[in-house]
Structure formats: C-alpha cells, structure tokens
Symmetry: C2
C-alpha cells in the first residue's frame, strides 16, 4: 500500500438532531432548511442553529447538520467542552454510551439530554471504490502527515467506509489549530503503519 | 543522540507585561502578587488578571506571568485568537514584529497595543547541563511523540537553551486538546530527526 495525498476538512462544533428533539425545540411544524451541501453526499449544513447550556456555561450558534437522524449527537472540540465544564469521551460518531449530557436550546423550547456530547475521533471517509484504489479497510487505523509551520503526524486516524462517502479526512478545530490549518482545511498524506 | 522522555506542560493563554503597561492598567503603585511558581526558575503566575478587547470580541481573565518584562507579549491559542477576530503569527517568545494588536484592560485603565499578540511556537526548554546530557542544541528542531487516545507526533519543536531553564516541553491548549493531554500535561518522547 502506497502513501497518498488526502483532502483535510475541518469540522467546527455541530450537532445532529433526532426528529423528536428537533420538533421539541423548533416547534411541531418546523423543518430543516439546507444552507450548504457538505462533502459527504446527502449531508448539508442547515440554516438552523441551536444553543447548548450546562451549569457552567453556554455556547450559542451550533449548526445543525442535516438530514435529521435517528439519534441526537453533539460534536464539540475539547476547548468547547471545557468551556461548558464537560469532559466528553473521544468517540466515533454514533458511539454515545457514557457520553456527556447537555441542554439543547431552540427558538421554541429546550430539552435536557443525557449521553449526547462527544469529541469526534479524527477519521477518514472513503467509498468502496476509493478504498480499493488506496488499499483502505473499514476500521483500519492510519497516520496522516500534515506539513506546514505546525507540521505534525496524526496517529490513531480511523478509516470509515461506506458506499455513499467521499474521500476526505475530518479533524476538529483544536486539531486544525494544532497543525496550522485554517477553517478551510488543506491536504495531508496518509501513511500506512 | 538517543530519544528520551520529556515532561510536557500546557500553557494556557497568558501575558507578560512591561512595567509601563502594568502601571497604566493597574495603577501607579501596583505590584504583581506571586500566586504560584512555574517550572522555569524565577517565573511565576501572578494573582493579577487582565482582559483583552478587540472590535470583534473580548476575553476576560488572562493571567499575568511575572516578573514584569521589558516588553508586553500576549500568548493566545489560535482558538482564542479567532474568537477575537485576530490572526496572529506562530512565533517564538520575543519575536513580535508584525504580530497582532489588542486593547489591554485592567482595573485602573486600558491601553491599546500594536504588535503584542502571538501564538506560541511549541518548544523545549533545557539548561546547559541537560542539553549536554541529551545532545540538544539551541535552535535545534526536534519531533516529540505523544502516546494516548489522540496519539500524534509534533514536528517543528524548537529547542531553547538557557542556564536558568529546566527541561520541559511547552504546548498550548489547542495542541494539548489535539493530542489528548489535559491541563496538567503529561509526558512525551523526543525523537531526533
């Protein structure tokens, strides 16, 4: 397997909401309004924003990523989590057992949620054709080298395959800052162990 | 030269003030009150805090690191800088040319400063005896491997030698979050190129 260049995208804090939670805080007749398509086919940033509140703090303007999902999940950077007094686990999307709780605030109400907040594990999306081309396996762990003023090599980068994905590495804003990438992202090199 | 284990310390946002700037915002008769000694001999966290203000935002509670210096320097994480609408360069301490400006707020006044804000370049402090023992040269660039849930290898880690220093690597809060270290820091391994 040969090392290869990969696009890096920076995920700012965001949330995925269940339909029930969305209706509770936006109203029974509300719907998500797509603002911008994301790189993963079918996913979009919505115009709708929510707030998060804990005993220690509040964060406003968390963007909802659509479409609505079966479960609610909030993805924060560690910096965000600390500002809310939370210590969420570093997890892959969907793995919410023993994650942190928070209150969701919307224009039409609020809802207290347990086990919804994680810090996302850095990961690579790829579809099956791309996986074959580059020799990636689902669940595989690779390293990604980022060059620049704050050069570093990310270890523990997990590969997620799905026929609907498109090749891209996702890191959060703390990781982007640590490796010198702006919100627009950049490129890195996948290194096989 | 053999790789070796090193203590990692996490620098939260902080500032160094000149005596003139300190008096302007704390009053003519004010003095720094040491709160806690830091690992680098002679340096201390003071009880005194300042605020920072820009057109875009404000950060409260920036700790002053004493003693007072010949020049004022503010060290922020990139996350902090973005919240203030600033884009400071990544620099070694003291290298302030074309750095960012900000207004310093104290209990007794405020002062507008140009070229005072940087994001600190990650670095290693060592004294001359330690440098000899481990084969470190002043200005040398090494890599540091951090193990854990968010394992990574920091590149571009600059070595700073001074007879008063004590062996330690300093990273900022974004870097700590990206490599899974808490505010209490941890340990890494210096890797020679």
């Amino acid at each position: 397997m040969k090392n290869f260049k990969i696009r890096i995208e920076v995920s700012a804090r965001h949330c995925h909401l269940s339909e029930a939670d969305f209706k509770k805080i936006f109203g029974r007749d509300a719907e998500l309004t797509p603002l911008k398509n994301l790189s993963q086919p079918g996913e979009f940033a919505s115009e709708e924003l929510i707030g998060l509140k804990t005993k220690k703090g509040e964060i406003k303007r968390i963007r909802i990523i659509g479409p609505l999902r079966k479960y609610t999940q909030i993805e924060l950077s560690k910096t965000d989590a600390i500002s809310l007094g939370l210590n969420p686990p570093i997890r892959m999307s969907g793995d919410l057992g023993e994650s942190s709780g928070v209150t969701l605030l919307g224009p039409d109400g609020s809802v207290n949620k347990k086990e919804v907040v994680i810090v996302a594990n850095r990961h690579i999306h790829a579809n099956l054709k791309q996986a074959k081309k580059y020799g990636l396996r689902n669940g595989q762990v690779v390293r990604v080298d980022i060059k620049g003023e704050r050069s570093l090599v990310f270890d523990n980068v997990k590969v997620k395959l799905n026929e609907n994905y498109d090749l891209s590495m996702h890191i959060d804003t703390d990781e982007a800052n640590a490796c010198g990438l702006g919100r627009a992202g950049g490129f890195g090199k996948v290194i096989f162990k």
